[in-house]
Symmetry: D2
């Protein structure tokens, strides 16, 4: 019954909002001279992962331990096209995380200009591919966190 070696003893605290910078790579642009629209979806994934890391969670380890977060849906609305070498600012926000799903929103900007806005739903599955409940520390229930100020 000992839990000494259980990393769950210290619960990670995932931020609800996190910001990172991403430098546009040449390979991510296309012949229209801008970032190919599919590549923004990859940026969102980086935002999710780095948000977890900021809360002390190594997503790779999570997968090695048998929990995968798979994307159930994605939306993206494009405003302007980012160019090669632009330094993008990606704001990732957890809107809701309850049961088996986490809902994120994303805002990607260059300086004051909004490049695109996105939304995703990710679902937790185990190594058998079965949908499973999110770990407690990933749950974000508005009622239980009344002082979160958002």
């Amino acid at each position: 019954m000992s839990k000494e070696d259980n990393s769950d003893l210290i619960q990670p605290v995932i931020p609800r909002e996190h910001e990172i910078e991403i430098r546009v790579r040449y390979q991510e642009t296309d012949a229209q001279g801008r970032v190919h629209h599919a590549n923004y979806i990859n940026y969102f994934e980086i935002g999710r992962i780095e948000m977890l890391r900021a809360g002390g969670v190594d997503y790779r380890k999570l997968e090695e331990d048998g929990l995968m977060l798979v994307v159930a849906d994605v939306k993206c609305k494009y405003h302007i096209g980012a160019k090669y070498d632009d330094l993008l600012r990606l704001k990732t926000r957890v809107v809701r995380a309850k049961g088996v799903r986490v809902y994120h929103k994303y805002e990607l900007s260059i300086g004051d200009e909004l490049v695109c806005e996105g939304e995703t739903t990710v679902a937790a599955i185990n190594s058998q591919g079965e949908v499973v409940r999110l770990p407690d520390w990933l749950q974000l229930d508005a009622k239980k966190q009344p002082n979160s100020g958002r």
Copy 2:
């Protein structure tokens, strides 16, 4: 005023629905052993292009002539993950094409199984990046095509 040399004299007829097959490439998979979710967005683009080609329109030539179709938004709902070497069937459908925008829907399947469903809005812009009216042959107005049966 002569229009003899105007290729518009013969108007292309773009199908409203078109189907292609796409073989999953190794590079499109990820460490979860399935197609990375962002890559389905690329498949949709191929579907749009091949639909135009089926109607006699070379999208590259369209761009060379100064008309670009840029993606304004995209949605994708994922059902199952396609695997390396799967032969996917992509059904692309024009839902509406009016004014400056074309709305497409997509269904991607392996045999009878639905892999994912998508939607995009593409907008016509000229070489100065200004939003412009779709060419007539790309317009799809329900009232003018009463017998389209969909």
Copy 3:
């Protein structure tokens, strides 16, 4: 000792040279208006796979059965840049296949123009990541195939 259920009874015959067509995708181009140089490496991989398929070998099944072909080295010399929607012709050739390695050469062209030339070495490994001998049908020994004419 029975080998009745052994699919090896009918040995695949892999062609030593195989040609396919590849249509350049928008996502494969970059802001210089040409195919990004790293993407040609992906085309080579498609060439190898389709060469196996032409010989009756399903590479995915090979992997499922525990044999992986991993790339040990790659070279590519670029001549001209392919553009969006170009229809490329890729010629893949097995130069040597002996012991644990297969050596391929590639020529990628648009019409009569050579786009790039490549070479790769792929090594056979088992599911434990150990280097293993190529299956007999993948071996290509000049002495044993005196009439191959090359």
Copy 4:
């Protein structure tokens, strides 16, 4: 004859060797659970660009001013496969830069382990696609820089 507005007055000093860190993205892995071999070629490009930036040169501006560096050939020898989320260390080195070409070598490692080694030749071209002489500050001639000390 005034050169007041000529940025060439202050010559950039490009380091001959430069090191960066690159975090492996999920999208860069493939179903073998490792970084897809073509993606290392993209890392090399990032290495070249960041080496220029470390010397005060903005490659995007270089292109806007009409000088492009295009890849003429690439070689890569793979040792081990990097995994998702690995933090890679990329050492980029200018071996020679004379006339119209720059020769780079690359070493990519995880800790003490060498992941892969690469080489590229890039050639300078102008906006008409003509091969042109490298800017002086990009030339690296062993005889003329005996004191470079690296």
